[in-house]
């Protein structure tokens, strides 16, 4: 089949993201929500669903859900209650999941994604609601039994449902990337897709370009990395178009992504979908998010990547590329923010963070948290370069490595000890220039006869004589002055 056949179609994609919230305790009980404990250590009578127990809502869960909503400019619902989603499965001991059905705490809103051509696109959100995670079943460890671990049962989640606004796997990739960045900036979820603290399901359909009606929707699950989200959707789009082109019809179903093969396979058809019999959860009193409460959360909001991007490009005059790299990770942006509190050479600050700092971290497989040079000291290093006391290369290759070893030491102190401070004193440089010119009368004559290229040779000699300490700019100026007079 030729590529042009695929070009006749467009994909319609909506994503559902589940984000595990970084609370200490669970959503409706006080047992620990921390990941990684031995099986069935973080449990309680409530999370085990014992009769007679009553849930009690964790305040922080609501705070985090509202933060996410505000970050996406969603409407925050004032009157919230919870719902029971009923189904029988061993990982859900009380027989229902506490969730929000008709009253999601956040409605509407959007996130902006950047497309390959440099433009931005708004992806609308349908809703964000709070719910709880289920326990974990292991089917493969024993021949006859399924083993169940309830540490995860009751861990708080928010589910973020997008509108079917994405038209390609690349857009879906950008959307998940943006969402992960947001939850990390807000510090409400660690965004780790491999460990499952951020999970994504995709609703994918295709239709002929220009068609109004949506095609048959297929839900794809089990994509445990952002690149797998992209691969799975790419595969699914091609699969559906091939079926349509072959004149086949297919039904709405749930498919699972096989990361090894790069394909999707059918899990269950929607016809045999569960009947969840939602009804209001009577055990949890309603929650009213009044204006005062929403304002108090708004005040706690950190600067978000979009706002920082605008600030860097519009106020600081940095390039879009620089702004993108600096805002990709919250920790990098935070350091840069601190740094520009101490220096107004924003471009140099950006170059240092994106260059020396990032390559040091990359080469040593470290995180920003492992970088201990105070922003104030890095700003001082930039000031030394700006005042011609240090050359860029000496700063980067000699002084910066010592700063990493001894983060509390000032760069001036280090440069003095290394004896690498540049000399821009005119008298000192003139002395060197005179020495060099006197030692090379023949070359001086050649230069003055028109061989201007010799300037580089004279500069080299001056620098050598100064043991690399002469300020090159100043040396060039004085050298030219002597030669051209």
């Amino acid at each position: 089949m030729t590529a042009s056949v695929y070009d006749k179609y467009e994909a319609v994609i909506g994503l559902e993201i589940h984000a595990q919230l970084l609370t200490h305790s669970k959503a409706y009980s006080s047992d620990s929500a921390e990941f990684g404990a031995a099986p069935n250590e973080h449990v309680s009578a409530i999370s085990l669903g014992h009769p007679g127990t009553l849930p009690k809502h964790n305040k922080t869960v609501i705070d985090y859900a509202v933060k996410m909503g505000l970050a996406c400019e969603a409407q925050i619902r004032e009157f919230n209650y919870y719902a029971r989603k009923n189904y029988f499965y061993a990982d859900l001991p009380k027989g229902y999941q506490i969730t929000q059905d008709k009253t999601p705490i956040c409605n509407g809103g959007f996130v902006k994604i950047k497309l390959k051509d440099g433009s931005t696109k708004k992806i609308g959100l349908t809703r964000i609601h709070m719910e709880e995670d289920a326990g974990k079943s292991m089917h493969d460890q024993d021949l006859y039994d399924t083993l169940v671990d309830y540490n995860r049962a009751g861990v708080p989640l928010i589910e973020i449902v997008s509108e079917p606004d994405m038209r390609s796997a690349d857009e879906a990739y950008a959307y998940v990337t943006e969402m992960r960045k947001l939850v990390r900036y807000l510090d409400i979820c660690d965004g780790n897709m491999e460990e499952g603290s951020l999970r994504c399901d995709a609703n994918v359909s295709v239709r002929l370009k220009g068609a109004e009606k949506f095609g048959t929707k297929v839900e794809v699950k089990n994509m445990n990395s952002i690149s797998n989200v992209k691969r799975a959707i790419e595969y699914e789009i091609i699969r559906q178009i091939d079926l349509l082109e072959a004149g086949e019809t297919f039904t709405s179903e749930t498919r699972s992504f096989d990361a090894l093969k790069g394909t999707t396979f059918s899990m269950r058809s929607k016809e045999e979908a569960n009947d969840y019999r939602y009804f209001p959860e009577p055990d949890l009193p309603p929650f009213i998010a009044d204006q005062a409460y929403v304002s108090s959360i708004r005040e706690q909001m950190p600067a978000l990547p979009d706002a920082l991007f605008d600030k860097y490009t519009k106020e600081l005059g940095l390039s879009e590329y620089d702004a993108q790299v600096l805002t990709d990770l919250k920790e990098i942006a935070a350091y840069f923010e601190e740094l520009i509190g101490f220096t107004s050479n924003y471009k140099a600050a950006a170059n240092w963070v994106m260059g020396s700092v990032k390559s040091y971290l990359n080469e040593n497989a470290l995180e920003m948290a492992d970088f201990h040079v105070p922003a104030k000291n890095l700003a001082e290093l930039i000031a030394l370069i700006d005042s011609n006391k240090l050359s860029n290369s000496v700063a980067g290759q000699r002084v910066f490595p010592v700063m990493i070893e001894q983060p509390e030491r000032s760069p001036l102190n280090i440069a003095e000890e290394l004896n690498v401070l540049q000399e821009s004193d005119a008298g000192f440089i003139e002395g060197l220039v005179q020495q060099v010119l006197e030692a090379n009368p023949a070359k001086v004559a050649e230069y003055q006869g028109g061989k201007k290229g010799l300037l580089g040779m004279f500069m080299g000699e001056v620098m050598k004589l100064s043991k690399g300490k002469a300020d090159p700019k100043e040396a060039t100026r004085i050298l030219s002055e002597y030669l051209d007079k």
């Binding site: 069935n40 305040k59 039994d145 019999r277 009193p285």
Partner: protein, 96 residues
């Protein structure tokens, strides 16, 4: 609404219950009566009346995000019909 044997089968499946042959007839009759009672309630005009979800007043009953350990691992597993030293054990059912 007419309660049929199919209705009972579907509800039984959702509730993971099994009935003997004779029981099913009785349950069907009971359920039919219950629905009849609900239909009686439906005769009341509730147009424009907000549904009452909560009997008690009160809202925003919340707790701070603090971890409290109520039961130990051993206590958690104690009443399980089947278990090992780490896990609850249940019959193998793969989600369709």
């Amino acid at each position: 609404m007419q309660v049929t044997n199919e209705t009972i089968d579907r509800l039984a499946h959702l509730a993971r219950l099994e009935f003997e042959k004779g029981e099913k007839d009785k349950i069907r009759e009971d359920l039919q009566k219950i629905l009849g009672f609900v239909d009686k309630l439906n005769e009341l005009d509730t147009e424009g009346v907000e549904p009452m979800i909560f009997v008690a007043e009160g809202h925003n009953v919340l707790r701070e995000d603090v971890v409290k350990v109520d039961i130990t691992h051993e206590q958690a597993l104690k009443n399980a019909p089947k278990k090992d030293s780490d896990y609850f054990r249940v019959p193998k059912v793969i989600k369709k």
